[in-house]
Each structure stands twice: as C-alpha cells, then as structure tokens.
C-alpha cells in the first residue's frame, strides 16, 4: 500500500508543474468602491427619465418610505461588502458583518411596513401595481447580480450557497431601490409586497441554482 504522504509530495510536484501566472484579485476596498460606482451609475441611469423631485421631500415627510429606503440601502451596501469579502479567504469578519447588516436592514424595513399597514389603513390591494413593481425590480436586479457574480466566480468562496443568497439580497436590493425611488405609490403594503419582498424572494429562489453555478464555474 502506498503511503498517503507520498501522494501529497506527488501532488505538490504536479501543482508546481501546472503553475500558471495569475492576476491577484483587487483590494477589497477598491472592489467595493468600484461596485458602488456601478450601483450609482445604475441608479442614475434608471432614474434619468423619471421625476425625482418629490423623493427628497417624501423621504423626510413619510417615515415608512424613509425606513424602507434606508433598509434597502443598508441591504445593498452590507450585502455587497459581504459578498466581496466572501470571495477572499480570511475576511470572514467583514463577510459576517455585511451579511448581518443586509439581513437586519431588510428585516427592519419589512417589519416597519408590516406594522404600519393597519395604522395607515392601507389594506387596499393593488395586485397589478404590486406585480409591476416586483417585475421591474427583478429586471433591474439582473445587471447588479451580474457584477456581483463576476467577483464571486473569480474569488474563492467557501460557502457558495450562502454567498449566492447574500449576493442576491444585495443585487435585488439595488434593483428594488431603483424601483422604490421611481415609484409614486407609497402605501406600506405596496412597499412591502412590491419593493421589499424582491430581495427575499430572489434570494431564496436563486441561491441554490447560483450556488451550483459558482461551484461549476470554479471547477
């Protein structure tokens, strides 16, 4: 029977033979700044045609709208930081802190809206509008998701399914934010169903297929 340690020596020989030059990943801060610039560009282009003059005043006057805005921003930023850190071994703290922020931001915003529904008396149903906003948010999330997954595939992710979930939360957070800023219907129920639910739904539905895809692409 051959000694397993010999296998290890042979493996080192083979790894050395197969060595090819690689380009190191960019620094985490640089990558984060780059992705934030992309987010800003997406939001700017997305809001180009729409009138956003009322957004600032609504943010100040309607606290439910403001809370959901903050929740989505926190989810996008925290999720992005977490996903970028997930691709680099040894950056688990940043990864976990970002993940916590993303979940906490979204959950807090959802709870605020949920609790506000009976108070405001906005139990009217707008299924068509809810669905439209939801759909728009999903479409708007595709480009951010592409940017995030480019980083994920290049990095060395230890838990692809969790990273996919957080990545989808972040990218759908950007998509939902775009819709949130351009949508004029600001009832709590609509915000909850049409805007805030998008990251949760996309994350849950997409984490397994994307996790599998990351594993496949990484080899």
């Amino acid at each position: 029977m051959t000694d397993p340690a010999n296998h290890t020596d042979r493996l080192i020989d083979r790894l050395t033979e197969e060595l090819e030059p690689v380009r190191p990943l960019p620094r985490l801060r640089t990558a984060f700044a780059f992705v934030l610039a992309v987010w800003a560009a997406i939001l700017a282009v997305g809001l180009l045609g729409s009138s956003t003059g009322w957004v600032w005043s609504t943010l100040q006057s309607n606290w439910i709208y403001g809370a959901s805005f903050v929740g989505l921003v926190v989810a996008a930023l925290g999720g992005t930081a977490s996903v970028l850190a997930a691709g680099v071994p040894g950056r688990e703290r940043v990864e976990q802190a970002g993940m916590f922020l993303a979940f906490a931001g979204l959950t807090a915003a959802a709870v605020v809206c949920w609790m506000a529904i009976p108070d405001v008396g906005a139990n009217h149903s707008y299924p068509g509008v809810d669905g439209m906003c939801f759909q728009d948010a999903v479409w708007s999330s595709l480009l951010p998701a592409g940017v995030i997954f480019t980083f994920l595939v290049r990095g060395w992710v230890s838990r692809p399914i969790v990273a996919s979930l957080v990545g989808l939360l972040a990218s759908a957070g950007v998509g939902a934010l775009l819709v949130h800023l351009s949508c004029s219907l600001i009832t709590p129920k609509h915000i909850l169903v049409g805007h805030l639910s998008v990251p949760f739904v996309l994350g849950v539905l997409g984490m397994y297929p994307l996790g599998w895809l990351i594993r496949r692409l990484r080899g």
Partner: protein, 279 residues
C-alpha cells in the same frame, strides 16, 4: 447606640475576650503568645539585627548575564518569506511555489491533524487544502499576512470534510482499515493488468465516469490528484467515481448473471484452463 456599642466593646475587653482567643492560638501552636510593649521592642530589635547580619554575611550574587536578544518567533520570521514566495508564485515562479508548498505542508498538516484523527482521511484533507490553496491563489493580496489566508482555506477544507462525512454517514458503512490493509498490500495496482471483462465494463462507462474510476482505481492517484488531473473539484471527482463504481457493479453483476463472467479470475486464465481441460 454608639454608647451601647462602646460599653459592649469595653465589657468584652474586661472579660478577657482577646486574651482567651490568644491563649487558644498559643495552645494550637499556630501563633506566638502575645507580647507586651517591652517585649515587642526587643523582638523588633532582634529581627532588625538578624536582618542586618544577613545583609552583611550574604554572599554577593553573581552578575546576571546580559539578556540575549530574543529570537523572533518562527511564524513571524517566515511570514514575509511565505508572502514573498506566494507573490512570486502568482507571477508564475515554479521554484518559489515549490518552496512555498513545501514550507506550508507541515503547517497545513498540523492544523488538519489537530482536528481529524483518522490518518487516511486527514491526509486526504491535507491534499484538498493544498489543492484549494493552488486554485484560490489569485485571492491572496501581498499586503495582507499570509498565515490567516492560508489558515482560512485549511479550515474550510476541514469543514468541507466534516460536512461531506455527515452527508455520507447515513449511506455508507466505514470499513475497518486494519482488516483490509493486509489484503491490498501487493503489487502496484497501476501495473496489474485488468481483467478483460472489467476493461469492457470500463469502456462502456461515460467518459467522465471512466476517467474518474481509471485515475483513482487503476492509476492509483489520490482523490485530490485525480481532481487536479481531471480539472474538476474534489467533490465532482468523487461524485463521478461513485457513479462509475455503481455503473460498473451493475454491468459486472449483469455479466455474471448472464454467465459471461462467473468468477473473479481473469477470463484469459479461465480460457487457458478450459483449453487444457478440453485437450
């Protein structure tokens, strides 16, 4: 209140409370008897004189040798070196890469063996960790310390091992290594010719499964080496090999049932026997 407390204290003093306590202590031999003022002064003087005598008669302490400059710890010492080797490896320097892998091998092994007790499995995990370091080498940044980066990868490899074991635990029964280790000691499996039936069955497998089975069972590579050769992950090569074994077993059982292959002897030997028996 205060007057009462004072009276109580005085009365206890008159009753000789403290002297009784002291007498008890003396009887136990734990303390000296209490001294009055003159005795105390004498005792203090005697103690002082003894201390002074000790100071006078005490031999001079040899001078302590000057403390040697502390040697830097091995980890701190090797950290910049490892980092430099990794940087060179990222640029394609094979010698630096070999030096790096050789240097970190004991560290990787120490981490893995501290968590996994089974030797064969632990060595597999060491190989998986080295393979992960190889595949994830682009994620290392030279301005960050090398140690935490490496340890994170090794920890992940160990976690993957436990996760995998837990997943397979319900489906597989582990064989005691000691029992079959004696039976498999023999010629190098890579040099033993395969039985034609087995060759046929292997040829009938899908390409990926055949590759996995051949690399691991015929060429005798470890799972990590086979994964490297096939350019897939360790998990993927295990899945392919497992499916390959299952398909092989089905084929061979089918052949046995049909009477094509009745024993485990190579067909060539059986046909020779048949010829001899026939003649």
């Amino acid at each position: 209140m205060a007057a009462k407390r004072k009276a109580k204290i005085e009365s206890s003093g008159e009753a000789g409370g403290s002297t009784e306590r002291d007498a008890k202590r003396v009887s136990c031999g734990t303390l000296r008897p209490p001294l009055d003022g003159a005795d105390r002064a004498t005792a203090a003087l005697a103690l002082y004189a003894r201390g002074a005598m000790q100071t006078l008669t005490m031999p001079e302490r040899p001078e302590r040798p000057a403390p040697e400059p502390e040697k830097p710890r091995e980890r701190e010492d090797s950290e910049p070196e490892l980092s430099a080797w990794m940087r060179a490896a990222q640029a394609g320097d094979a010698d630096a890469y070999r030096a790096l892998l050789t240097a970190i091998q004991p560290k990787v092994r120490a981490i893995v063996f501290s968590r996994i007790k089974a030797d064969a499995s632990a060595e597999d995990v060491v190989q998986n960790a080295l393979l992960s370091i190889h595949r994830g080498r682009a994620t290392y940044r030279s301005e960050r310390p090398f140690g935490p980066w490496m340890r994170a990868i090794v920890r992940n490899a160990v976690t993957d091992y436990f996760r995998d074991r837990k997943r397979r635990g319900d489906r597989e029964i582990p064989l005691p290594v000691e029992d079959w280790a004696k039976d498999v000691s023999g010629p190098d499996p890579a040099k033993v010719p395969l039985a034609p039936e087995l060759q046929d069955a292997l040829a009938g497998l899908p390409v990926k499964q055949r590759e996995a089975v051949t690399l691991i069972q015929v060429e005798g590579l470890s799972v990590a080496e086979a994964a490297l050769r096939a350019k897939v992950s360790v998990g993927a090569i295990k899945v392919r090999a497992h499916r390959g074994y299952r398909a092989l077993r089905k084929k061979l059982e089918g052949a046995r049932r049909e009477g094509v292959w009745e024993s485990s002897e190579p067909a060539a030997a059986r046909s020779d026997d048949a010829k001899e028996g026939g003649s």
